[in-house]
């Protein structure tokens, strides 16, 4: 798997869980979706304010101003608090915010990480596009300074392993891919193991290690069509372990592989219980675990 991007989080119960850090591209995509939603909603607010102003004047304007303020400053905070660390954009892309040390994702962490967007994006953007509105009589050099600042902060996530932006540093948070796996059938359950007339000797089963076993598992779980691959792998294994085809009838490649998988897994799990974990066929010797 993508080990480089995997981070271990120890839950308060003391069990390590593994999360995969979200890629920079995911983050950008999520942010883009959210910004589009904010812009769309802002347009609606402005239109509604203009319409309301005709009827109620002051109140309409007051409501519009507050709505616009909330939208700009609290859109991310609101969703990340109520949607378990996701926003519409993050949900669409499939990433989420968690606490970087395995604790509770608190409201103040969410608040702090999103306040920093102000210095990361909004203010430098204004400084680049319309410096006059920020501070009248601003020297031209400031525009370049703002551009450099924007650039540095925008690229900051690319320069650390955890893809942390300034807000994540301040809030102590981490953005990870939202994990989701489906529990498939157990390949070694008797119902699916096929005719169990096939037997293997311990010597045959000791040729392979855990990595080969799990490659075989992923092959067996793969969606069809895969007839040729199955045949090739079955042939290879049969040759390697010196397996002799029993005289009675022909045996399906898939049945053979399932039976071999079951026997191999039983053997490796048995040895693992006794404290010997065989990681792979090569580099060979057994890694002993306490």
């Amino acid at each position: 798997m993508t080990d480089l991007r995997q981070r271990e989080i120890v839950t308060p119960e003391g069990v390590p869980l593994h999360f995969v850090v979200a890629r920079a591209g995911d983050r950008i995509a999520a942010f883009t979706v959210d910004i589009l939603l904010i812009s769309g909603a802002s347009l609606v607010v402005i239109l509604a304010t203009v319409l309301l102003m005709g009827a109620t004047r002051g109140i309409g304007l007051a409501v519009g101003l507050v709505a616009f303020f909330l939208l700009r400053n609290f859109y991310f905070t609101w969703f990340e608090c109520l949607w378990q660390g996701t926003t519409p954009g993050k949900r669409a892309v499939g990433v989420r915010v968690i606490d970087g040390h395995g604790g509770i994702l608190t409201a103040e962490a969410v608040f702090a990480r999103n306040l920093m967007r102000e210095v990361e994006v909004f203010v430098p953007l204004v400084a680049v596009l319309a410096p006059e509105s920020l501070l009248p009589g601003i020297p031209a050099g400031v525009r370049w300074l703002a551009l450099a600042w924007l650039f540095v902060l925008a690229l900051l996530p690319l320069f650390n392993r955890d893809r942390l932006r300034v807000g994540d540093l301040v809030g102590g948070t981490l953005v990870v891919r939202a994990p989701s796996f489906v529990l498939c059938e157990d390949l070694s359950a008797p119902a699916s193991a096929g005719p169990s007339v096939l037997t293997f000797t311990d010597a045959q089963l000791d040729l392979y290690g855990i990595r080969e076993l799990q490659v075989l598992e992923s092959l067996l779980r793969e969606a069809r069509p895969r007839g040729q691959a199955l045949e090739a792998v079955a042939k290879k294994i049969q040759a390697k372990v010196g397996w002799v085809r029993p005289p009675a009838g022909r045996i399906d490649d898939e049945d053979f592989l399932r039976a071999f998988y079951t026997a191999q897994r039983a053997r490796l799990e048995h040895r693992m219980l006794l404290g010997e974990r065989r990681e792979a066929k090569r580099g060979g010797s057994l890694t002993r675990r306490r």
């Binding site: 109140i59 994990p179 796996f181 157990d186 799990q214 079951t262």
Partner: protein
Amino acid sequence: MKSVGFRREREGTWAELETLVQRVERGGIADLSPADVSRLPVLYRATLSSLSVARAISLDANLLAYLESLGARAYVAIYSAKSHPLEAARDFWRRQFPRAVAAARAQVALSAIVMALGVVTGAALTLQDPARFYALVSEGVAEGRGPGSTTEELRDVLYGKRDAADLLAAFAMFLFTHNAGIGMLCFASGFAAGVPTLLLLFGNGLILGAFSGLYAERGLGLEFWAWILPHGVTELLAVVLCGAAGLVLAEALLFPGRHTRLGNLALRGREAGLVVIGAVLMFLAAGLVEGIFRQVVHAPAVRMSVAALTAVGWAAYFLRRPQP
């Protein structure tokens, strides 16, 4: 095989947890019935223990990945769930906010001193030479007021009905959003070693000082402060708090002490975030006073007593011994 029996035995628990977690992911924790809510942590712990066992005895990659992801999803569902919003708000107001402010005592003092320095400097410069007012206050903020205005014009601003009465609410909200924006910028810019924060504080003080100098020169000093302070006590305090929060960030970054720089930043950044949440609420209160009360009540004595009242109120609130 042991791992097959293990899976058959516990599969039911996992499936039950998965449906609960799915419901939380869709509709939040509020979607669960009380019975389900109390069931969730039990199932979660059982699944985590399954995961530990599976890591020790099973080589089924799919099973391990499934348990790991289910554990992670349940972990997120459980550890990012919130208490009731009203309860959280009460806890924030009674415990968290005053405590966070108390923890940043030194920064609050520094931020207040810097702003006060700005006020004194601005006032002194303007009193010496009123023409300097133009250098200190930009056209947009001055709104036509300046050394060139007559005393009458200046007085009118203090008592004038700024806008038609039904625009007061809009005006109040404009002030709130504008000031809260500045406050949050004060905090966030603390990340740049606090330099912009200090500049913003000092600059805000300069403008206020320049105005007070202008009015004092015309003998309107007391009335000017009666105009500013009813909302100013709350608003200036909120600016000071935001500045202090920015300074907390800067300090965490510059002087990490025994922690790592980033660990310290994460730790203190959240605390500072709490201070800013409280300050935003204070800006809202100040905006309402400024936009509505000030436009309606004109007697300097009443204005001053309201200012004194808010000052006493905030002092009592922040200096009260925080609850354990």
